[in-house]
Symmetry: C2
């Protein structure tokens, strides 16, 4: 029997304990032994919980208990979660987490520490909730050179964009609806500004390309600038608008960025709607692999946490090969160097657009604005053209 501790009894923590309890037979079979939650660390009162006898409020009880081989960190953030993770790894305990903020900011050093201590630091749940991503990327595509990994990594923004499309709603209206339904937080900044997607693409890029990609170096735009009109025009052109996190190798350079994109309706990823997430991995042997599912939520995220717990229990005396080298500010090239097709909405006259851009495809006009799709142009080039008197009301990349 393996004994574990869960740090934090919020949504993911309680889901983890619930899945371990509900599916205990399946979990035991796959782990080769029973897994017992010995402690739950949370200072709040859970005296009504069926698990109330497991609660402790002193981390020292856990870190000093030699029977605890695996610790689940689902506290979130980079404060106490960082400290506890370090101390557990130092004490020779494997750590499983869904904490994308911590992995994105400190993954390199925590993986290094885990390696030094001969234990595992696993974080499948940190990206894409319950969608299997880490193992497919690290193991199943182990024979591939990865050229690109990208996807719809944030369920809140995808829900908002889907609602805007379906109901012709403006951003603020769809955001309120998402908040009412519990898909968006009262302060939605981390989601709608793209920070959450940024952390996730950093983790995926680090895994795919072998060097830590730090979030503060990644160009990040959210979805606030997407309007009802943009949704309409994009649809006319045959596209949906989705927030994508992307990491690409072009030539010998690595690019990572988060931005709203137009995706062709014929592409499978455009069908990833609502709170679902979808990740595309492009390998030189396998081509495109697309992984989709619930990107968040109590039980889906817990599903990934428990899969990692099982793996940690099975590998108490062997290390899973997950890791990457440290990154540095020079690692990423400027995505404005990359050529792509662009969607632009503006109130500039049609004749001027045609004069400055040459070949474009117009989507139509509405409320005195006009939208069009350009040929392949770099971000630098398009800024030069726009500077000649075409003020963009919206400008988004098209996924090509």
């Amino acid at each position: 029997m393996a004994e574990i501790a869960v740090l934090g009894f919020g949504v993911v923590g309680s889901g983890t304990v619930e899945v371990l309890d509900k599916n205990s037979a399946k979990v035991a079979k796959n782990a080769g032994q029973n897994i017992r939650v010995k402690y739950i660390l949370d200072i709040r009162d859970f005296s009504d919980s069926p698990f109330h006898s497991l609660f402790v409020n002193d981390f020292e009880t856990i870190v000093n208990d030699p029977d605890i081989s695996v610790v689940v960190e689902v506290i979130g953030g980079v404060g106490v979660a960082l400290e506890y993770t370090q101390r557990c790894l130092e004490a020779g305990k494997s750590v499983v987490t869904s904490n994308k903020e911590l992995v994105a900011a400190h993954g390199y050093s925590l993986l290094k520490l885990a390696r030094e201590k001969g234990v595992n630091y696993l974080f499948e749940a940190s990206v894409g909730g319950g969608i299997p991503i880490m193992r497919p990327l690290v193991q199943c595509m182990a024979a591939n050179q990865i050229s690109e990994i990208f996807g719809i990594l944030n369920g809140t923004t995808n829900y908002i964009l889907t609602e805007m499309e379906k109901n012709g709603a403006e951003f603020e209206v769809a955001l309120k609806d998402a908040q009412l339904k519990g898909y968006a937080e009262a302060d939605p900044t981390a989601d709608v500004e793209g920070h959450d997607a940024c952390r996730k693409i950093c983790i995926l890029a680090s895994l795919a390309f072998g060097k830590h990609v730090y979030p503060d170096l990644v160009s990040t735009e959210g979805i606030r600038s997407v309007t009802k009109d943009d949704k309409f025009f994009a649809s006319e052109l045959g596209y949906k608008i989705k927030l994508l996190g992307r990491a690409r190798v072009v030539g010998d350079k690595l690019y990572a960025y988060v931005a709203s994109h137009l995706i062709d309706k014929e592409q499978l990823l455009s069908g990833v709607e609502g709170v679902m997430n979808g990740v595309v991995v492009r390998g030189n042997a396998v081509g495109d692999v697309i992984l989709c599912g619930a990107g968040a939520g109590k039980l889906p995220t817990a599903s990934a946490v428990v899969a990692d717990i099982i793996d940690a229990v099975k590998h108490l005396y062997a290390r899973k090969w997950i890791g990457w080298e440290d990154g540095d500010p020079a690692l990423l090239a400027d995505p404005a160097q990359l050529e792509t097709a662009w969607y632009i909405r503006t109130d500039a006259p049609k004749a001027k657009i045609e004069r400055e851009f040459g070949d474009v495809i117009f989507a139509g006009e509405s409320n005195g604005t006009i939208a069009f799709k350009t040929m392949m142009l770099s971000g630098k080039k398009i800024n030069d053209i726009l500077a000649r008197g075409i003020k963009p009301l919206s400008i988004f990349r098209i996924l090509v």
Copy 2:
């Protein structure tokens, strides 16, 4: 350094050698050591091949070489492939394969033999080409009770159905096109009659539910009965027609079947077009996980084979937990017991259809035939109704 042998230098065998060669640095990094192909077994003449010095034509050379730790069986079929696989496992060598026919027919006994010998029998490439399926199912979803696994498992039939949809072509025309493009074989029986999809759903069902599901017990229909008219009517109703392999637990019974289905265009799986494959796994914690990619082809399949080679090399002295119990004829229940909505095309009069079926949704009429969608009915019940004088020209399940 690990030394391996490849049995069969056809499409997948040559792709495997190519991927090992082209991506050797990445492969070595992930395997923790270099992997060298020492022998290729094929009796044909490959004197022009850059790998010509590796060819042998005597299996004894390979099975008796103690340096060979992993053997790749990409011969296909259940004849010599079965014999060689047994002998390699008995000789203490791990075996990696893309041979779905062999795994579907003899997976239980081969996995049992591998376990007895302390080696691995791995077959990620046998289902869905390069799409990661085995590890996501066995490892990433290890915390879930699986209630259903289903998908588009055959690229040839999906290409034909996609072409019929796009070009309004009849089956025979689309089949010829697929043959010209190399997506269908001269004798397309195994694909268009559903046998290939059947083998794959048997492998997935065995993995997901823990007992060997033998292909000859699985109700299997192909796509020959899908007409241009059906494609048109289905589209009118908001559906695409896809060949699905399905395995489901309903109550305490297991059902497995292969048949053409109508899938709502809003569902992501309906967007899996052409030679792509897509698999949906439904777990009680994670919900639906959808895995898509190239379901066949030289390099995609080789990508999965090489991933298994890497895993076999990393686990020479430890076994991967993959296995299932033996199945028996009583394992599967009759899918005609299951309720679903149905699509029916007939030349019966509309008034009679309404009288016999009650609430239905009509798709319209064409060439003297009429198509409609029923409410939820079991296969047995629908046969009773049809026996009252409604002759179905086509009848398909609707994925609900």
